[in-house]
Subunit: 144 residues, 2 copies
Amino acid sequence: MFSKACEYGIKATIYIAVKSMRQERVSLKEIAEEVDSPVAFTAKILQSLAKSGIIDSHKGPTGGFQIEETKIDTIKLHDIVHAIDGDKIFVGCGLGLEQCDASQPCPVHDKFVGIRDNLKIMLKNTSLYELATGLEIGLTHLKR
Amino acid sequence: MFSKACEYGIKATIYIAVKSMRQERVSLKEIAEEVDSPVAFTAKILQSLAKSGIIDSHKGPTGGFQIEETKIDTIKLHDIVHAIDGDKIFVGCGLGLEQCDASQPCPVHDKFVGIRDNLKIMLKNTSLYELATGLEIGLTHLKR
DNA sequence: TTTATTTAGGATAAATTTGTCCGAAATAAG
DNA sequence: CTTATTTCGGACAAATTTATCCTAAATAAA
Ligand code: FES
Ligand code: FES
């Protein structure tokens, strides 16, 4: 469904959000630990999320990653997925035709579009805030 | 969403079904052509679909692939996807936790499970027959 | 200013998926 | 029986994704 990079990216962002809600910055090392992801690979992903403007990064001692608190509520899961995996999952054909086009549909088009759109709606409606809150109150988990 | 192998496999199976409904066997070469897929790679996929019992293969001149006509209606999209991509897409965690477990859910579990289940239901309800019919009457297409 | 710490970024490597090649095996037809 | 055709199956290669390593740049604190 999502790429490994995207899975790590989502988990990392949620973890950063939890910390940011407590005005805490968090280091790459800690993130990778808490999210159960390879450190160097996670670094790349966070780097790209920073470039996308979803998270902020700071170098040096006391450095690390954080998210502007006012943004935590407006950032949606969709934004993270789109930043990392692009829009193929949102607009791509289920059978890999170059372009999904209702006027020249593939055999699964009608059935697939509904699922795809549901996914998109879900991702657009899910805020980082609710995901972070669920984690903070111990309702959800980032690793097993 | 689906692997490339699965995309090719679905398209190939639909094409074979259309031909089988006319009591025609079809060669690998023709399939790859009509489905717009790499020949040798398609051969591997068809081979595995044959082992899974979804399609039948015959060697030699006049050989090729076909599907038992009585099965075309009972084979569901789910069977093809499961045969090629396994069940990760049906039971796997959206964030890649080793196991999706409602009693120890990841942050997206509640929202993800709904989408995942919808996909599963859709695939279980979609028969090869209807996909093949749509293609035969020119309503849908396998390449662009 | 020096040092320690942390992210940035480029090069590289490993793993997986996708794709190719070729000889073997089966089989239909002359 | 011989030949031509077609799938089978194993080895191999290319491309992509995932993951690592190392140096540079920034920066906070002594
Ligand atoms: S054309 Fe295939 S999903 Fe729309
Ligand atoms: S635990 Fe992640 S989707 Fe169920």
